[in-house]
Symmetry: C2
Subunit: 408 residues, 2 copies
DNA sequence: AACGTTTGGCAAAGAGGAACACAAACTCTG
DNA sequence: CAGAGTTTGTGTTCCTCTTTGCCAAACGTT
């Protein structure tokens, strides 16, 4: 069946939508821009930009301020800036040991963020949803319901994007739980609720607001207990035919490696996951974040066993990255989660291993950097996912409002 | 710097181009279509389609024929069919042991194909170019020079797409040879000469005309001596930041494996390349295509050593495919080259290994099939690469011609 | 033969950006 | 400090392309 998205024809209405989308996206992702910069960026004329900005301004999405003269000749172009109150999203994060909610305004400003620890016990979907709603209520009071664009949710599990069904989340003890639908009911809001995997969203966040901003070909590797990632190809996240792509933690890197939870063996995850790292160093595999921090400290202190262990981890990290670099030829590799934290002590070995094991052409321009968003990456990514609803078709959001205003 | 391609604004001219492109692409890839099917496919109105078809028809790109009544009520919609003589491309293939040239018409019809064997010796760029031109001359006599759209070239090596520089082609003994530029000079034609890697083009060909037609997420694995591939993500070939992506032959699958020509060790290529296959079976590693055919025959005859060897190969093939399936979640895996030929004897084991080693969600809907284009895959892909020049912006090709006609 | 259905043909309308002329706001120069 | 040069906002008109609406043509059904 053909859905409207499959229709390849362009109409004049499509043109307007696409141009509004380009401007809104530019402002959201890169911050305030002068009108003339928007002209240069889009290739449209000043007149056209003027009309589009006028529409966005009338809808309250953007404001214009006088731009200070910058020393160049000519009339200064006013600065168009995103209005955080003009559109907002609600973002959630469901982790094994904490829940969080955030209110984020257009332009990416985090208006408020609340995080609560929770026991590492398995809780039912209904209990989690109730906790999330309780977290969100005070945030929602700060926002005009009219401006709410969508709700984004990051969850540590495999998710069917279409309806927010969590197909499998071993650490939460969930299987086929309809998180998206339940949360939509419980919040009682009239906007889409979009659920996605936390690793995917961490990568999206780094691409939008972090270490990979403005880079279009990125491999993002993250992990705590499991190892996951997100791959940006030409500026778009790799999703695959059914949305389950980028499961890089289960690349087969070591045929003689140990058993993996996924049923295979020698997966990357079994070599570089948090437990593997701690085990190699002879530490408690359930040491978690503190265990890793202690290990890094031990490495920096020069403790031999820790050094040996971290070298092994770095080598396996480099081997896996070599595969990914050969496959994707990215411009940037971003290390998140546990790898962000161990980056200072593995960076050099990872780069050397990569140089030894990847093709010269593929690795020529690649850089390896730690993420910059830390713990809040996934929830920021959830907010960005929700903002896609606005960025993809701003007209759909602002036209109805304009009509309502005209009718009143 | 901003090039015109980076300009994100849409104009009415863009709309026309995009709509013409959609129709031309549909006809080229899927063959004749009735006007009403094009209406349904594009979402445009009958009037708009009429105007667009009219323009294409005036340019000689398409023709219309009366459509036979199909039993449904209503006036029959005429069939719009691509006119092979309306636009043509020249395609070349440079292999270690043969050269080929083909003339292909709009719609994908191969008008003529000539292939000549050549010694496995290293020849200079100039010699190869001269041979290619000699092959092409009789073909070019059959085509109106006005209708030539572009020239495509498939070559077994790493290629910089921008200018057709062959950066490295070990089997040809080439390094940084400007194949694209030289061929353009020697042919003395006024159209772009586009050079690409033969594995990339083999994948493109299967995606356009072969086993992967109309599938948008595909992993294509091919190889003779080396192992390469091409990955289609959302209908687009994966190219990476500098164009060197999809070097899947150099995935690290066995860190304790043997040395690879790339400098690393335990690459997929060292486990499943043609030489590895023959070596495992205790045969001459330089046995080439005949060696493989004999091995397959031995397997079918039940010869134990051959059976053992092929099982090992199938297992390693499955291990690498599991990694690719976990990363890309494709709808289809296509085996080309040597893997196309051994598919009958490895298929079952590959599928079992894949089932054991990939994530259930990622492999859920994937099928593994042999390619259908055989030896001619790469040259067909080269033709399709050249046709992109037409498909991307038909207006640029037909408007000048229309203007010239009006001026005369 | 009459009717419903689907489609092509054509003219008029509508939407949206481009082009152009002019005014405004800045820098630079003498 | 005045005037020239430059860049940009404003407003009007024009152009391109698609849509809308009406009619006729070509098919099947009753």
């Amino acid at each position: 069946m053909l859905t409207p998205r499959d229709l390849v024809g362009q109409r004049s209405e499509t043109v307007r939508r696409s141009n509004l989308s380009a401007i809104v996206r530019e402002l959201h992702l890169r911050g305030p821009r002068s009108r003339s910069e928007l002209v240069a960026r889009t290739g449209l004329t000043r007149s056209a930009i003027r009309g589009l900005i006028g529409e966005l301004s009338a809808a309250g999405l953007v404001g214009e301020t006088r731009n200070e003269p910058d020393g160049a000749p000519g009339r200064p172009s006013p600065l168009v800036h995103p209005n955080p109150g003009g559109a907002m999203v609600l973002a959630f994060e469901v982790k094994v040991d904490s829940l969080a909610a955030a209110l984020v305004g257009f332009g990416g400003r985090v208006q408020a963020l609340r995080r609560v620890d929770r026991p590492r016990a398995h809780l039912s979907l209904d209990e989690i949803v109730a906790d999330l709603v309780a977290l969100a209520v005070p945030l929602l009071r700060r926002a005009d319901p009219e401006t709410l664009v969508a709700v984004g949710v990051a969850v540590a599990g495999i998710v069917r994007r279409a309806d927010g069904l969590v197909r499998m989340a071993p650490n939460l003890g969930w299987r086929d739980e309809p998180l998206g639908l339940r949360l939509a009911e419980a919040l009682d809001v009239d906007v889409p609720v979009l659920v996605a995997n936390e690793a995917d969203l961490g990568g999206l966040a780094e691409h939008r607001r972090g270490a990979a901003a403005r880079v279009d070909d990125v491999v993002y590797v993250t992990g705590e207990v499991g190892v996951g990632g997100s791959i940006t190809v030409g500026g778009q996240a790799l999703v695959g035919s059914a949305g389950y792509a980028a499961e890089i933690g289960h690349m087969a890197v070591n045929p003689s490696g140990s058993r993996c939870g996924c049923g295979s063996s020698g997966c990357w995850e079994t070599e570089i996951g948090e437990r593997a790292i701690l085990l190699r160093a002879g530490r408690d595999p359930h040491g978690g974040r503190e265990g890793i921090d202690e290990l890094v400290a031990a490495v920096l202190a020069g403790e031999p066993a820790a050094l040996r262990a971290i070298e092994e981890v770095a080598t396996w990290l480099g081997i896996g990255l070599a595969t990914l670099v050969n496959i994707f030829n990215p411009a940037l590799v971003v290390l998140g989660g546990v790898f962000e934290r161990i980056h200072p002590v593995v960076g050099r070995t990872v780069e050397r291993t990569l140089a030894d094991r990847s093709l010269p052409a593929a690795r020529e321009l690649v850089r390896i950097v730690p993420g910059t968003l830390g713990e809040n990456g996934p929830i920021i990514g959830a907010a960005e996912l929700a903002f896609e609803e606005l960025l993809h078709d701003p007209a759909a959001r602002i036209r109805p409002r304009a009509l309502a205003a005209a009718g009143a």
